[in-house]
């Protein structure tokens, strides 16, 4: 039936969350409107700009292109889940330090895709970083400082994961 709600239950940023959603709702709608996690930004709503990127079961997805019902039972990470308490994630700190955001609208998408990228490419070249973020639009920075921040975060994360006696 058109508009009939479905019950979904999922893990968002480590917490069990549930809600009733219309089948047509996107995951972004559910996160923003139902859970009030408005850090996930909706730019183009057709999968081009990347601002709405979240992790779904560990992989980055555009939450404007995923239906909320598809996320039933999944584990979702949004930008609100990156920091640990008051302690920023290495990427967030690097973006801050490198002035990698101006208006900040695109930033959540860049942070989420870069998190996944650095997990798979812990020591990337500048060109690899450029390719990794080529599907994300930023109108403020010209990408220079974003590339710099992701590279700096790679260094920070490498230090953090190095054995204590390796320094």
């Amino acid at each position: 039936v058109n508009g009939a709600r479905r019950r979904i239950a999922l893990t968002v940023n480590g917490e069990q969350r549930s809600g009733s959603v219309e089948p047509r709702w996107t995951l972004a709608d559910f996160l923003r409107e139902e859970l009030r996690l408005t850090g996930t930004h909706l730019g183009c709503e057709h999968g081009v700009c990347g601002a709405c990127t979240v992790h779904l079961d560990g992989r980055s997805v555009r939450s404007c292109l995923v239906l909320a019902v598809q996320a039933d039972g999944a584990e979702v990470l949004t930008v609100e889940g990156l920091a640990t308490g008051e302690h920023l994630h290495a990427l967030q700190q690097a973006f801050w330090d490198a002035h990698a955001l101006q208006c900040g609208f695109c930033t959540p998408g860049f942070l989420l895709t870069a998190t996944e990228f650095l997990h798979e490419h812990p020591d990337p070249s500048e060109q690899e970083i450029r390719e990794a973020i080529a599907g994300y639009l930023c109108r403020c920075t010209g990408y220079v400082t974003i590339v710099r921040a992701i590279r700096a975060a790679a260094d920070t994360l490498a230090l953090g994961s190095a054995p204590a006696d390796a320094a």
């Binding site: 390719e131 994300y136 920075t141 010209g142």
Partner: protein, 278 residues
């Protein structure tokens, strides 16, 4: 600017600022420009803190609220550093003078800062391009941009404005195009059709040189317009480079964007399936 509007690049009728120094010795700036990421909040706090010899953290900035700020012209055309910052400086200075004359805190002063002349930053923009003869794609190999900006209140913000402006200029030169059909119906109505530059459209090597050797004589801070540096120069620099690369063909490189379709048309003037001038 003769449009009777609110003035860009430092022209009249100027921008408003009000500075209040409170009993605790902190200060609040009320500014008519709105910060949407340009960094005005930081920059205006810096200007006020420096004038009042306060710690930067003790200055707050109120903006973007018509119930809190008496008037404002808005955020465009480098009005922030030239008009809003000089208005803030003048208001802070006037408030400080009142304190020095024996007034008791809180004291406040307002200023609507105007200046009659625009303040462009002079500079140069050099770009090396490669044109793919098979596809018409223009690749930016190296881009060097050098500007004399007078004075940098916040170097990070200045660099960010220039880098972002460059991206916007590259978009205008190579990609961005409002296309309409013969009935005036817009055809580029989403980011699928209206292409913004991505990280891979930036020059493979980019150098930005900022000089602060010649402060503007037109205003107390010595600042010049920096927001327009990238977008204003990119189209001409890239267009000239494309024309140089295809010099033998004498292409009519007069109208951006220099898109693959157009460049391919210039490269293949005899092919009937291309429209070199569309």
């Amino acid at each position: 600017m003769e449009d009777g509007g609110l003035g860009g690049l430092g022209t009249t009728p100027g921008e408003f600022a009000r500075v209040v120094i409170d009993e605790a010795g902190g200060a609040t700036v009320y500014s008519g420009v709105a910060d949407m990421g340009q960094g005005f909040k930081t920059m205006l706090a810096q200007v006020c803190a420096e004038e009042l010899a306060l710690d930067f953290e003790r200055v707050s900035v109120v903006h973007g609220d018509t119930s809190a700020v008496a008037s404002g012209g808005g955020t465009w055309a480098s009005r922030g550093a030239i008009l809003a910052a000089n208005a803030t400086l003048a208001a802070a200075r006037a408030a400080k003078t009142k304190l020095a004359a024996g007034a008791r805190a809180p004291v406040e002063a307002s200023c609507t800062y105007t200046q009659p002349r625009m303040t462009y930053s002079p500079g140069a923009h050099v770009v090396a391009v490669e044109v793919d003869p098979d596809t018409g794609v223009v690749t930016l190999l190296r881009q060097v941009i050098a500007y004399e900006i007078g004075r940098s209140i916040n170097p990070g913000i200045v660099e960010g404005q220039i880098e972002g402006g460059l991206a916007q200029g590259i978009g205008g030169a190579l990609l961005e195009h409002f296309v309409y059909d013969e009935h005036g119906q817009p055809l580029a109505t989403s980011f699928m059709d209206y292409l913004l530059p991505t990280s891979l459209d930036m020059a493979l090597s980019q150098t930005i040189i900022v000089s602060e050797g010649a402060p503007s004589p037109s205003n107390a801070l010595g600042v010049k317009a920096v927001g327009e540096v990238g977008p204003s120069s990119a189209g001409a620099a890239i267009g000239n480079a494309v024309a140089d690369a295809l010099a033998d063909l004498e292409p009519p490189v007069t109208m951006p964007p220099f898109s693959p379709e157009r460049v391919f048309g210039w490269l293949n003037p005899d092919r009937s399936d291309t429209e070199g001038t569309t």
